[in-house]
Symmetry: C2
Subunit: 307 residues, 2 copies
């Protein structure tokens, strides 16, 4: 599990930072890549990474501002051109369908794969045996969502050596023991499966938030998260500007991470007014509130270890 | 007058060539830039050039395939963000308005300038005292236009030395003479204005064509042109493929230039199957038919001198 940033700027593309997109690489977990936002030229950025468009399974659009959206039609078309054949689902606010369908229709783009467009509301928007994704509305003037990706806990590993020490040989009985059932061996011995299973592996939690002012919903989405990705369009001195434009300062982001009890904060959506070293000021401000803060950059990757 | 190529690839972006866009720089002629096509990340390419988005006066979209269109909403928005305030007109096939209006509406993009969208048909689509633009349908499966940009002839310069040799002094009378009128001086001398004006300066003709098979309309648009910009998606050996996908080979492009009596041919829209030196094969094939052929590259510029 790894976050790979594709665009970390705000509003308009700049040489240093492209507009918003970040990939959650779930190659080990499900052989898939999930994208959050898809600003213009996201597919161009992908050309410089190991991401394979045909592996992209879900795209979550936080909100419909152009710098988070306008790369979507091109990416959808190129995924088809590059032999993507598995289904793809795009989640996002109301209006997403009209935009995508109009773009594909006028351009005569025919996809070779099944495209699902899901206009979401708050709540669980995706759930399978490995992951749950929860959406909540933030505070950005236009509808903007944050996403909480929850990896389900994995059952503990079977303590094979302990079974072998008792002379229990591999077979279908191992499955039952692993599920924690009580089993009776051929010689009458009764085993409590729970004694032969290690502790469950805790699933990871990643919160990726759209543009927003400081808000309670962000804190709820990031509760106990391993990582929270939060916008920091402005420095603390521009609190007024941040508020007026429905954005956050670096300090706002840090305050969200702190109150949520998150483990780690990554700042993104950095205004081009903070170029090069000037962006380090944002990190410094955030760290004074939440020490484990890092700054995203285009093509920076952050692996998310278990536990 | 100069052509500056921003994207010269076909279909999908590649590291070497972005999707289609070319700028006709008319800074000396009208302080403006005209764009032809606006594939995704055209605004990103512009960041690496001297083009100022606020100077873009007209955008001509040849056809609505995504690789010629999907950069338009982002560019329109960024032009506003970067203080573009003068009107901008976008010309293109039917469907252009639905695409642009949907993209701007769902993204909440408010432009600070007047945007005119003109869904065109064949014929004169623009005309003022300096330029005429003529559109014609090509042969690309979907509606695809070629554009013939005609600079109007400039009246010849006033032969001031000849007038001064006769003792005619500067004044309002110079304007009348320059217009070729017959004037009577204070001493009764009659002057035929036409004798005091040099030969008119011939306007230039630039033909920029959308994707197409070899077709008569392309020849008509390029008649006696100073420059023709023509797609060459394939090499001659792939004539069959070119035909099936409604594209041209380099030889097709050269044949158009030759029959049109054009002065110079620039090949663009090069498939990524011809990378690096392989693209030179396309030029060689075209030159065997039309010697004055050049190959476009992203950021290559070609100045177009008078006469
Ligand atoms: Zn936004
Ligand atoms: Zn095309």
């Amino acid at each position: 599990m790894e976050l790979l940033f594709l665009g970390t700027g705000a509003g308009v593309p700049a040489k240093e930072r492209n507009v918003s997109s970040v990939a959650l690489q779930l190659l080990g977990e499900r052989g898939a890549t999930w994208l959050f936002d898809c600003g213009e030229a996201t597919q161009h950025q992908i050309l410089h990474t190991a991401i394979r468009p045909r592996r992209i399974e879900h795209i979550f659009i936080t909100h419909l501002h152009g710098d988070h959206l306008f790369g979507l039609p091109g990416l959808l078309g190129s995924r088809s051109f590059q032999s993507g054949e598995t289904p793809l689902t795009v989640f996002g606010p109301s209006g997403l369908r009209a935009f995508v369908e109009t773009a594909l229709a006028v351009s005569g783009t025919k996809l070779r794969y099944e495209l699902n467009i899901v206009e979401i509301d708050e709540g669980v928007i995706f759930d399978d045996d490995r992951f749950t994704v929860i959406a909540k509305r933030l505070d950005h003037g236009m509808t903007s969502y944050g996403f909480r990706v929850v990896e389900k806990d994995l059952p503990g590993p079977l303590l094979v050596e302990r079974l072998q020490a008792l002379g229990v040989r591999p077979g279908p009985i191992y499955q039952e023991i692993k599920q924690g059932k009580t089993v009776v061996l051929a010689d009458g011995t009764v085993l409590d499966g729970r004694e032969f299973v290690g502790p469950p592996q805790k699933g990871r939690i990643v919160a990726v938030l759209g543009d927003t002012r400081f808000c309670e919903a962000a804190i709820e989405l990031a509760r106990d998260a391993d990582v929270i990705v939060h916008e920091a369009t402005f420095a603390a001195a521009e609190q007024r500007l941040a508020h007026d434009y429905f954005h956050s300062t670096a300090t706002d982001a840090a305050e969200v991470a702190r109150r949520a009890g998150a483990k780690r904060l990554i700042l993104t959506h950095i205004s081009s007014r903070y170029q090069g070293a000037a962006a380090l000021q944002l990190v410094a401000e955030a760290r004074s509130v939440f020490p484990n803060t890092e700054l995203a950059a285009d093509f920076a990757s952050f692996s998310i270890p278990r536990g």
